[in-house]
Structure formats: structure tokens, C-alpha cells
Symmetry: D2
Subunit: 144 residues, 4 copies
């Protein structure tokens, strides 16, 4: 992928309003592989005092969206199965990583791990299934 195209895709992905709203930081590590970090604030906890399931899911979803759209082709989530393994709370740093597992045809699978940034322990793990549309938000390599 040429440098200019890579940058345009990254700019498009960085625009994510909900990621900005929460203060999440999104990086594309390489095509199909991304990382998202977020420090949990007092606004992001549930009534039991733990990090909200919606926030844990959200950073996994941001990693997944960055990875699955990193080719410049429009991808939408069909199904996510997430397992919650360890509670965290305000002040904790969460790190989500998404990696492409299989990409035969328009249906693609990603593995997402969400870890406690301090201890490295698994907080949640998910499998995310995506549908790649025949639309490109940044034109294809051989055209650009």
C-alpha cells in the first residue's frame, strides 16, 4: 500500500467521533491489525463501580473497526461474541488489539483481546464477524 493511501485511510479512521468523545487512542499497526488504548474515567463505570460493559465493548469495537477498515474498503460488523473475564475500574488503562483471522470472500473474522494495561491480564476476548461491502472509502491501490 502506498504511503499517501495509508495516510488517507488513517485520517478517515481517526475521525471516529465516539472514540474522541471517550478519549480513546486508535493506531493501525499494519493492514488487518490495530490497537486501541483508553484510560477509564469516573464517567465510564457501571452502578457496581466497575468499568461499564459498554465501554469495554466499545474499545474492542474501535480496534475491530480500525482493523477491518484498514484496507480502505467499507466493512460493517455483523456479529460480535464477547466474553468478560476480569473486572477493572476508574483509573485503569485498557488495551484492545484486533487481528484478522480469515478473509475468504466478503465475510471476514477478527480476534480481539482486551487487556489490563498494567498487569497484562485478559479483561475480555471477542470474535467479530464483518461484511466487506463493494464500496471503497479510499480508492483501491491499483487505481490510486
Amino acid at each position: 500500500m502506498n504511503k499517501d493511501r495509508k495516510q488517507k485511510i488513517n485520517e478517515y479512521i481517526q475521525r471516529d467521533p465516539f472514540a474522541r468523545f471517550l478519549g480513546a487512542n486508535i493506531e493501525i499497526l499494519k493492514p488487518g491489525h490495530s490497537r486501541v488504548t483508553l484510560t477509564i474515567t469516573d464517567d465510564m463505570i457501571n452502578f457496581h463501580g466497575f468499568t461499564h460493559g459498554g465501554v469495554i465493548f466499545a474499545i474492542g469495537d474501535m480496534a475491530f473497526a480500525a482493523a477491518s477498515n484498514s484496507h480502505g474498503q467499507m466493512a460493517v460488523a455483523l456479529n460480535v461474541g464477547i466474553n468478560f473475564l476480569k473486572a477493572t475500574t476508574s483509573g485503569d488503562l485498557l488495551i484492545a488489539e484486533a487481528e484478522e483471522q480469515s478473509a475468504t470472500g466478503p465475510i471476514v473474522l477478527y480476534d480481539i483481546t482486551i487487556r489490563d494495561g498494567r498487569t497484562g491480564e485478559l479483561v475480555a476476548k471477542s470474535q467479530d464477524l464483518v461484511y466487506r461491502k463493494k464500496e471503497w472509502f479510499v480508492v483501491e491501490d491499483n487505481i490510486s
Copy 2:
């Protein structure tokens, strides 16, 4: 369940900081059954301009948490499988409903539907599995 106990449980559930942060409205309809409504704002969309997966999940999770904790017993999510069926965007109203399906022992299952408030169409549908701890955040009926 007596009125006083019901009110204490509701107060506990309404305290959810992330629900307040997003502006979601949580109602317990009856024990094991709840509803959450949220109007999508410009902060809650993804880089494609649609409602963020994390926001859709979050209101489902709020409905699920309200329903599964509505007995006053501490419940934590183990697994959520969510299917995304229809895109929505800023300005749309989402309505999530959670209903208890089976409650034999400490493992309980909920069905969650998330609908477009205007058309009634399914936006997402999930199954959520919960573990009920032996802790009560509002003391049991026969004690109070």
C-alpha cells in the same frame, strides 16, 4: 417485593455513571424485564457516520444490567452475543428491552432487542449470559 425495597433497587440502578454520561434513560418494567431509551447524538457515531457499535451495545448492556440486577442480587455479565441488523444515525431514538429467559441456578440468560424508536425495526438483537453472585446490594425480601 415490597415498595421500599423496589425503590432502593431502582435508585441503585439509576446511579449508573455511563448511562448518565450518554444520556440514557433506564426503567425497570418488572423484575427481570427492563427498557432503556437513548437519542443518538453527533458524539455517538462512527467514522462511517452510523451509530457506533459501542453505543448500540451499551444501551443493550444497560437494559441487561437493569433486568439482571432488578432482584437486588449482584449479577455480572459473562458473555454477550450481539447481531447488528440495521444502521441508524445521529438524531435517531433507540429503544432496548431485556427479558429474563431462564433462571435455574446462578447462570441466567436474557434476550435483548434494540429497536429503532420511530419505525420499530430491529437494529440489533443479543443474548446475554449472567452470573448471579451470592451478594445482595439490597437485602433480601424476607429479611427487609
Copy 3:
């Protein structure tokens, strides 16, 4: 749907070799809705002495396949999320029912319940996501 077409679709679905191998009985109740029954034998249990997870899944999958192919259009499973709620064993009768939930475009969602035929209790519950191909194994209504 005309009677002849309905019969051809049913014949196609009844041919399922694995259903025959297990002795499962498949009925299409109406388009998008089906039922499968199976009596568990000594061959269908796991090393703990309970009905094998693979057998429970299989009859849900047969119900799902019958329902999702009941329109005569080729449908393939993308994702299944299944929750196991109650143990059964040899001699028990299991009844699986599949119902279409949403069908906008090629991606369709089904809800499957698997019950103990004697008590009616939930044994398992799943959500199944299907992709409808542009292939018809029985020609379309308006053509036939």
C-alpha cells in the same frame, strides 16, 4: 407459495443425511419457521453421561437450516451463539424450534429454542446468522 414448490423444498430438506443418521424428524411449520424432534440414544451422550453438546447443537442447526432454506433459496450459516441451560440424557426427547427474526437483505437472523419435550424446560437457546446466496435450489415462485 404454490403446493408443488412447497413439496419440492420439503423433499430437498428431508434429504439431510446427518439428520437421518441421528434419527431426527424435521418439519417446516411455515416459511421461516421449523421444528425438529430427536430422542436421545446411548450413542449421543458425552463422557459425563449427559446429552452431547454436539447433538444439542445439531438439532438446533437442523431447525435453523430448515427454516432458513424454507424459501427455496440457498442459505449458509455464518455464526451461531448458543447458551446451554439444562442437562438432559439418554431417553429424553428434545424439541428444537427456529423462527426468522429479521430479513433485510442477504443477512438473516434466527432465534432457536431447544426444549425438553417432557417438561417444556429450556435446554439451550441460540441466535443464528445466515447468508442467503443468490442461488435457488428450487426455482423462484414467479418463475415456477
Copy 4:
């Protein structure tokens, strides 16, 4: 784990009647990690002529059950989320592998991959959540 205990656990797991019925071969590679192989026969296909979803799930379930019970402690499946990625058919060899991901407390997560034995391609991938009971079917290490 001492040799005698290891052998007793393996004997218990090899007794799986459904695995024998299908002709599946189960190996414990090490505690928490197992492999199952199965050659697909004409009895194990669906009405479209592909390997039945129930059979693919079953060998993943056998790998999962072997891995999660490999400590001699009774483990039961709570939830499985499976993604189907590639069709196979009669005559093909399937290889399922299960690996323990996280084991804090009684709830344990496994990753399962099911591959085409000839090409190595992913056929399906699942995440399986287990509950470990306080029952041991082979007595604990420090007791034996």
C-alpha cells in the same frame, strides 16, 4: 500431574460415546490443550452436500470438553460462539484444537480452531465458556 492420574483422566475422556459413534479421535496434548480429528463420511453432510454444521460443532465441542476436563475437574459448557468460514465435504479430514485462554475462578475460556487437515485452512473458529464445578471425576493431585 502424576502419570497414573493423567491416565485415569484420559480413560474417562476417551469413553465419550458420541465421539465413538462418529469415529472421532481425541488426544490431550497437555492440560488445557487438546486435539480432535475426524474424517467426514457420507452420513455427516447436510442437504446441500457440505459437512453438517452439527458435525463441525461436535468436533470443536469434543476438543473443548477434553481440554476443559483435562484437569480431572468436572467442567460444563455455558456458551459457545462459532463462526463458520469454509465449507468442506465427505472425505475431508477435520482437525480441531482447543486451548485454555484464561482461568480465573470457576469460569474459563477456550479458543477452538477447526481446520481442513489437508490445506490447513480455517473451517470454523469458536470461543467456548465453561463453568468448573467443585466436583472432581478423578481425585485432586495433592490428595492422590
